[in-house]
Amino acid sequence: MQLPISIRIALFSLAPALAAAAAGAAGPSVGEPAPALELSDESGAVHALSDYAGKLVVLEWTNPGCPFVQRHYRSDTMEQLSRAYPDSELVWLAVNSTHDNTPADTRKWKAEQGFDYPTLQDPKGTVGRAYAARTTPHMFVIDPRGTLVYQGAIDDDPHGRSDAPVNYVQNALAALRQKGTPDPSQTEPYGCSVKYAR
């Protein structure tokens, strides 16, 4: 039966139309499965998101050349947070989508800063664009089922002048460990733009 469009629309309005499931140019939405990724880190080891199913995963878009990232590494924000929970529960992965970053640069930065989580090398920017990572830092928290549960800024203090900034990622991880949901689940990230390859 071919129904005229008015009736068709009336029929569809019986139930709310499915919102477009996939996010548009804005990347994955909170509540959707996190896009798959497979990249090698600065030592050549390959990491895939599916390797860490069953664990909490934090993706940190980073760029040592960005003053915001430098400020956080001076105060060890990411490093302390990555050590907050045991490796069996939490996996912290930094991602560098800067177009001219090399594994050697990352190794040097890692040796200087002394953190122990891998930095995935994404010079082509495919994973960054899949996640629509805009700034460094830009944080994504993924739950053990592979769903994106938080994305946005690391905290609420872009200029670093608060004594006690609210660390959204820390709160998100704490909430997830208690089987809750992060609140807020989405914030506007701040920082330098990711220097993607053209």
Partner: protein, 784 residues
């Protein structure tokens, strides 16, 4: 030469020193942007700073300015910070955009009362091919407050009062450098009633210049503003549209204000402030048309996963060129769709996500409870469909006929019927889950990928119709045809009828149950089973209600001669359903298949007539058994249908696929492959990809109503779109993988590719309209 001068007389040394200082000052000045305007007087020490060092050079110089040198308490004046940026570097607006950080300026002084911070209109910096848009300033910008010294300030009158400010900001070119300054500007404060002494002309000129760059209200511009939104309320994850219309000639006879867009790129034209939990994007810009002068900006908004604020307002700046071509800015303020009432956080999260995990995984915004309710409602409505109504009607009549029966029996029948319905739906759900687990991505309607199934259903409907016409009696009970309805021979029969109802309902179910099922397919196994069960309950509800509530039975009219006519009418409904299924078959397998099935239906009719006459003659025995056997064989005939592999776009079939192809324009339609799309994009052509299948009722409806529309065809032809049709009528791994890549398990899906953004196609939802599609097609080719 300088060295010899220095060794000379003191005067010469002084001259040389002065020359050197001047040279250095000029060079330093050149390192910063040349100030377009009169030279500022020297700044008091402490009121100016150069910072944001990059490669040893400061990239910004900041200076505190006040437009009065001497003020009386209570008298208004302006105070601000002037940023002078090195060429190529920019500073951020209050909404920095996608990256960066907002500029912060905080005056902190005793007795200083400030108005809100004034921001001149920014410009947009679109980079990375549109991946990110920032808002800010380059060259020089002054941010300021209207200010007053409180009359009862404790400072003694006549003193120089330092007005302190702390600044934090970020300046970027490709790389970014943060800046932080603490400055103080001394201001002489007199006694109340004293006349103020304005600052130097150059300083006041700066204030005037940047005051003029503030956004103006639309009315001051001589234009009328209208903002419309597509939704009134927002739930987490909702999308909505906003249309901003700016009209230059709202009333006849008035002097019209003519203006044009400040940029062809809506992203440079529309500069929004940040709204918590809502992302706004300008997607299209068009002239008002219809003889009206002005323009319209279309925005798309998306609420984040958190409940948006209760009442949010859209505040934005529009960049326009006036009749003289000067760039001017208009400020817009309009209410946005409202989010849920603000509640304490725990309570707010609970209703938004019942069954937190799986429901949160579903981005459609439909909670599990809502999907169950929809499923039940859909099942209820299914009873009215011609597919199901005849069987239901007969069930109801048999119920009424047995009105003398005990309530317990009625209950047994109702229970058996409901069990039959729910069990067969659960079996269907189980089948879907099994297929899903096996890796086959199935959406609703997968069974229609098999033309034999469609043919068999058509035959079944036809058989039932013949029963209703009285040609023979369906079922094994040798009831005389004079009996109306089928005398129930036990709950087993009710069970079977429940199963039959489900089978018959499937062709008619898609339009109603699409959403509930779409939700179910995205969720966990428990959700799928739950929704299917809810549909079953809805489907069984009318009959069960009639069986259990004697009062309702009174509503069913007593059988009478008119019943025969009703049965015939219902039979006609079944024939109509059968014909519709045949039309589906035509699209899926072509004319030859339909001819074959029609032939089989004719044979079926003859066999049924034969069986009927045998039944009427009440002849038991081998002849009857043989007749039944022949009938069954013929009914199974469609299952042996030789179905040829249909070509991807069946030229002979007036199916949706062809309509879609025609919409693409002669020669522009192509069968889909990821490589072909990539090729077209590389050549700079925009692409439009249509995912469809002949069994997908929604797709076909879209194709007939929208894709075949002349406006869509025009737009596709005008913009030189390469149109690709991905036909999923048969299983296709490439198409399935492509759908999965875009986060979909089912169809329809429409993708609009902008060649400048080959990795970010615009995804259109299931229900498309001509206007929406045309807008999306234009947006992909008009944005910069």
């Amino acid at each position: 030469m300088l060295g010899r001068m220095v060794r000379g007389s003191p005067a010469a040394r002084g001259l040389a020193g002065g020359a050197a200082a001047l040279l250095l000052a000029v060079l330093a000045r050149a390192a910063l942007a040349a100030a377009p305007g009169p030279e500022l007087p020297p700044a008091p020490p402490g009121a100016v700073g150069a910072t944001a060092f990059d490669a040893g050079e400061p990239r910004v110089q900041v200076r505190l300015l006040a437009d009065a040198d001497f003020v009386a308490p209570g008298e208004p004046f302006r105070i601000g910070a002037l940023f002078q940026l090195a060429p190529g570097w920019h500073l951020y607006w209050k909404n920095p955009g996608d990256t960066g950080a907002p500029t912060e300026l905080a005056f902190e002084s005793r007795g200083l009362a400030l108005g809100p911070l004034q921001w001149p209109a920014p410009r947009a910096f679109v980079f990375d091919g549109g991946f990110a848009v920032d808002y800010g300033y380059e060259g020089e910008v002054l941010l300021w407050h209207e200010a007053r010294i409180e009359p009862d300030a404790a400072a003694p009158q006549g003193a120089m009062q330092p007005l302190r400010a702390e600044l934090r900001f970020l300046v970027c070119r490709l790389e970014c450098v943060p800046g932080e300054l603490a400055l103080a500007l001394p201001l002489a404060v007199g006694a109340p009633g004293d006349a103020a002494a304005p600052a130097a002309d150059a300083i006041r000129a700066r204030f005037e210049r940047f005051e003029a760059l503030r956004p103006e209200p639309a009315a001051a511009f001589g234009a009328s503003l209208r903002v419309q939104r597509t939704r009134e309320r927002l739930r987490p994850g909702d999308r909505f549209g906003i249309s901003i219309e700016l009209e230059g000639c709202p009333e006849e006879g008035r002097d019209c204000s003519t203006f044009s867009a400040g940029s062809e790129d809506p992203r440079e034209l529309f500069l929004p402030e940040r709204v918590p939990q809502i992302r706004l994007r300008a997607v299209a810009l068009e002239a008002l048309g219809e003889g009206r002068s002005g323009l319209r900006v279309q925005l798309e908004g998306e609420a984040s996963a958190d409940p948006p604020a209760g009442d949010a307002a859209l505040r934005a700046v529009l960049a326009l060129r006036d009749a003289r071509g000067r760039l001017r800015h208009i400020e817009i303020e309009a209410p946005l769709p409202r989010g849920p009432r603000l509640e304490p956080a725990p309570a707010a999260s609970a209703p938004a996500a019942p069954g937190a995990g799986p429901a949160a995984a579903n981005s459609s915004g439909v909670g599990l409870l809502a999907a169950l309710a929809l499923g039940w409602l859909g099942g209820l409505i299914l009873n009215l469909m011609p597919c199901v109504l005849p069987v239901l009607a007969i069930k109801l009549f048999s119920l009424v006929e047995g009105a003398g029966r005990t309530r317990a029996e009625a209950l047994r029948h109702a229970a058996a019927y409901a069990a039959g319905v729910v069990a067969s739906l659960l079996a269907l759900a189980g089948l879907v889950l099994a297929l899903r687990a096996a890796g086959t991505a199935v959406g609703w309607g997968f069974q229609f990928q098999e033309p034999r199934y469609v043919a068999a259903l058509a035959a079944l409907c036809f058989l039932l119709a013949l029963d209703f016409f009285g040609v023979y009696a369906f079922g094994s009970a040798p009831a005389p045809l004079a009996r109306l309805g089928q005398r129930a021979s036990g709950p087993a029969r009710s069970l079977f009828e429940g199963l039959l109802v489900v089978v018959l309902a499937t062709p008619c179910s898609a339009p109603f149950l699409g959403t509930a099922l779409g939700f179910a397919f995205a969720g966990s196994a428990a959700q799928v089973l739950g929704v299917f069960a809810a549909i079953g309950v809805g489907l069984a509800t009318p009959f069960c209600a009639a069986a259990l509530l004697p009062a309702l039975r009174r509503w069913v009219p007593r059988p009478g001669p008119w019943l025969r006519a009703l049965r015939a009418a219902l039979g006609l409904c079944l024939v109509a359903t059968s014909l519709w299924l045949l039309s589906l078959l035509y699209g899926g397998a072509g004319g030859e298949a339909v001819a074959a099935v029609l032939g089989q239906l004719a044979l079926l009719g003859i066999a049924a007539a034969g069986l009927g006459s045998l039944q009427r003659a009440r002849r038991a025995g081998a002849a009857r058994a043989a007749a039944v056997g022949v009938l069954a064989l013929l009914a199974a005939g469609p299952l042996l249908l030789p179905v040829a592999e249909p070509p991807l776009l069946h030229a002979a079939a007036p199916s949706g696929a062809r309509a879609a192809a025609e919409a693409g324009g002669a020669g522009a339609r192509r069968s889909f492959s990821p490589e072909a799309v990539a090729d077209a994009l590389e050549q700079g052509r925009p692409a439009f990809v249509i995912f469809t299948a002949d069994w997908c009722i929604t797709c076909k409806l879209n194709e007939r109503a929208v894709l075949a529309d002349a406006r869509v065809a025009d737009e596709l032809a005008q913009q030189g779109y390469a149109v690709f049709v991905a036909d999923w009528t048969r299983r296709d791994e490439t198409i399935r993988a492509e759908l999965a890549r875009h986060g979909r398990a089912g169809i329809p899906l429409y993708l609009v590719y902008d060649p400048r953004r080959p990795d970010e196609p615009e995804r259109l939802s299931e229900l498309i309209t001509v206007e929406g599609l045309v807008r999306a097609l234009r947006a992909a080719t008009s944005t910069g």
